[in-house]
């Protein structure tokens, strides 16, 4: 009897303390949707079927693939950003980011975390060790890197911070407030946004990536805030204010537009499809050749997408 109790105790301490998520097989391609309202992540196959769903215990607002098998989770109100091994579903590391995380960007196994409470961007290795940090403008959020610099959009500021890969301050470019959505096309930095004050933004700003000079604008009403490159090289942008997806040529011409989703915030390229996350209607839209080929109901409030396409 005593032995049974001991066994139960060991099971309780050892087995139950570490919660594991359902595992995702290593060689499976997926598009994952983080549903911020429902607090879940849905992993969806290239057949547009849900492979697995994770119920999240913390209020995570974003995620990023660190490596093909490592997924980083973060949230504005969550102090720890865990790194989960997808093949086992277990947490392998945790980054002590503190409250205020708005965005994570991974470049060559280095994790860049923007913190809007401290107004900093910090770099960590995949073990969770902090490498560098730099202060930014007010409310840093969206980030992108061309390999030489890391560009940080300060959401509640009128400047974009240009940092070196080691997080040294390089430059500051003037941008509209409430800007969001970055994309690098040749030597141009494309920048979307919600627009300042009551007037919604309708265009994508084309900025010279070297000088920060505004080269031009691409009209994509209303509120273009996310961009992704399709397999054919075209750029797709999503405007959440009008729930419209625009297909742009590499030179920035609008080729097609399609009304899709309800208040979509994210678009990603997955195989031959573009996948769109409709925040208000809780659906993912699979788009090919300017047509919605499939709709898929996911958890409440799909806000961000992550795509893993494993090379076979």
């Amino acid at each position: 009897m005593k032995k049974l109790y001991m066994l139960l105790l060991i099971c309780f301490i050892g087995g139950c303390s570490e919660t594991a998520y359902p595992a995702i097989p290593t060689h499976t391609d997926f598009v994952a949707s983080l549903n911020s309202l429902g607090g879940s992540i849905d992993f969806i196959s290239d057949e547009a079927e849900i492979l697995e769903s994770w119920e999240l215990e913390e209020a995570y607002t974003g995620f990023a693939l660190v490596k093909d098998d490592l997924l980083l989770l973060y949230g504005y109100t969550v102090e720890q950003a865990p790194i989960i091994e997808l093949s086992t579903g277990k947490q392998v590391a945790s980054i002590d980011v503190g409250e205020g995380t708005t965005y994570a960007y991974v470049y060559e196994e280095k994790v860049y975390i923007a913190n809007a409470l401290k107004n900093t961007v910090s770099a960590y290795n995949i073990k969770g060790k902090k490498l560098q940090a730099s202060s930014t403008g007010n409310y840093p959020m969206a980030m992108i890197s061309d390999g030489k610099h890391i560009f940080v959009v300060n959401f509640k500021d009128e400047v974009l911070s240009v940092l070196s890969m080691n997080l040294e301050q390089v430059d500051e470019w003037v941008i509209p407030t409430s800007s969001h959505g970055l994309f690098i096309q040749d030597n141009e930095l494309w920048l979307g946004g919600h627009g300042a004050g009551s007037s919604p933004n309708s265009s994508i700003k084309r900025i010279n990536i070297e000088s920060g000079e505004l080269i031009g604008e691409i009209e994509a009403p209303i509120m273009p805030i996310n961009m992704a490159r399709a397999s054919n090289g075209h750029i797709f942008t999503v405007s959440h204010g009008s729930s419209t997806v625009y297909e742009l040529s590499e030179s920035g011409e609008v080729l097609n537009s399609l009304k899709a989703g309800a208040n979509p915030f994210w678009i990603s390229s997955f195989g031959e499809s573009m996948v769109l996350a409709g925040y208000d209607d809780h659906q993912l839209y699979f788009i090919q050749s300017n047509d919605i080929i499939k709709k898929l109901q996911v958890g409440k409030g799909p806000f961000q997408l992550v795509v893993r396409e494993v090379e076979r």
Partner: protein, 464 residues
């Protein structure tokens, strides 16, 4: 101690204040509940009409214009909004912008539900009632129809002109206070008069009367007070009269006795006169004795003497009494005819009943002429019997008949002493009958005689 007028006045003031407060609250309530509810209904109607005009897709400029046109015909503010920023479309982002609708409202609207709000709206910087209808196309919140009406609250109205309102209310209160004070005073002045009159009465001024003409309760009270004062005054006068009569009645025999005594003392009485004078002295002494006895009986009966009610055979009592008055009757050769029912048993005090019958019979004998007849009989009713004693005397005039039971009342003032009565006999009889819950009545005809009716309760067990 506060005066009654102050108390009533303060109570009135309290009521007025409570009424004003209640009215303010009630008006506010009515305003909120009825007016606002009614407004909401009309707002919903407008919103529904406008919503019907929406055919899906993006909200067009034309639709917005048509919505705004509505403002021209309506006293409500109506507009359509399609700006996603106003619709909280950037919700997951921490946007530095106060949108027109909040996150929860957005969820409700996307679900196709109507949002009805009542309260302060920062955008309009005032209290409003608003009705928001969604314009939804395939789960997409393309826009909203926003209808609102400013809630011009009582307080808001007041805040515009607080001083004016305060002054008005204060003036109203002062006016009410003054009117109520005057009213209370007017109502209570008669009470003050009554108090003064009661004080006057207390010090012996029985002629005091209150002059209040009103016909309300206080007027009634004043009337009753005046009646009471009259009664007290009459009683007082009676008391004085009684005392003067008593002293007069006593003085006469005393003066006789004194006069004859002095005559004896001075040897003025001749031997042959002595016997006559002794008889006179004894007669006067008897008279005094009778008078004092009568007075004692009267005093006792007035002080609610104890009554021992027992079953009495009426015929027996009458026979015994006739024995007692026989000598008096014989002097005048008066005969009695008795037709008393032998079975009648009365419920009465024996001594008192005998005294009553003696007094009435003595009276009858006194006023009967010689050799006449006195008839005594009785009649039975369900619960009582009436004994009637009929004489053939001189009779009593109607104006005197009502007064003959009053003390010392004499029909013929001149016959005061000669008839030998004290003037208290009928008064005593009347009081003793009253003590036994009976009645005494007289009927009389001048020159023909008088009938006395004595009604007394019968012993009801006698019928069992």
């Amino acid at each position: 101690m506060k005066k009654l007028s102050v108390k009533i006045w303060m109570l009135l003031l309290l009521f007025i204040a409570i009424t004003i407060v209640f009215l303010v609250i009630f008006t506010n309530f009515l305003y909120e509940e009825l007016y606002v509810e009614d407004t909401e209904t009309s707002m919903i109607e407008i919103a529904v009409n406008l919503q019907d005009m929406y055919n899906g897709g993006p909200v067009t400029n034309e639709f917005i214009k048509r919505t705004e046109d509505f403002n021209r015909f309506s006293d409500m503010e109506v507009f359509a909004v399609r700006n996603p920023k106003e619709l909280s479309a950037c919700l997951p982002f921490d946007i530095d912008y106060e949108s027109l609708i909040g996150p929860e409202e957005r969820v409700q609207l996307i679900a196709g539900e109507t949002v009805i709000k009542r309260g302060y709206e920062k955008r309009f910087n005032r209290e409003v009632v608003s009705v928001i209808y969604p314009l939804v196309d395939e789960n997409r919140l393309e826009g909203i129809i926003y209808v609102y009406v400013p809630l011009t609250k009582m307080t808001e109205m007041a805040s515009k002109d607080v001083i004016f309102l305060l002054a008005t209310v204060s003036l109203l209160l002062l006016l009410m206070a003054w009117i109520s004070l005057k009213t209370v005073q007017k109502v209570l002045v008669p009470l003050d008069k009554l108090k003064v009159a009661a004080n006057e009465m207390a010090v012996g001024n029985y002629e005091t009367r209150v002059n209040i003409k009103s016909s309300d309760e206080i007027g009634e009270l004043a009337k009753t007070f005046n009646q009471m004062a009259t009664s007290i005054q009459q009683e007082d006068e009676k008391k004085r009269d009684f005392l003067s009569i008593v002293s007069h009645e006593l003085r006469t025999p005393i003066s006789y006795i004194k006069g004859y005594g002095e005559a004896f003392e001075q040897g003025l009485v001749t031997e042959e006169k002595k016997k006559e004078i002794y008889t006179l002295i004894v007669q006067e002494a008897n008279r005094m004795q009778k008078l004092t006895n009568d007075l004692l009986t009267l005093a006792r009966s007035e002080h609610h003497q104890e009554v021992h009610l027992t079953p009495l055979v009426l015929s027996e009592v009458v026979r015994e009494v006739l024995q007692l008055v026989k000598s008096l009757a014989d002097k005048k050769h008066i005969k009695f005819t008795v037709t008393i029912d032998e079975e009648t048993i009365i419920k009465a005090d024996e001594q008192m009943t005998k005294q009553i019958l003696i007094n009435i019979l003595e009276n009858a004998i006194h006023y009967s002429s010689d050799s006449s007849t006195i008839i005594i009989g009785n009649e039975l009713s369900k619960k009582e019997t009436t004994i009637h004693i009929k004489d053939e005397g001189c009779g009593i005039a109607p104006e005197h008949l009502a007064h003959i039971t009053e003390r010392f009342y004499r029909v013929n003032k001149a016959r005061s002493r000669l008839d030998g009565g004290t003037g208290l006999g009928l008064s005593i009889a009347s009081q003793l009958i009253e003590l036994q819950k009976g009645k005494l009545d007289f009927k009389s005809e001048i020159k023909k005689g008088t009938v006395a009716y004595i009604t007394l309760p019968i012993w009801e067990d006698s019928f069992l």
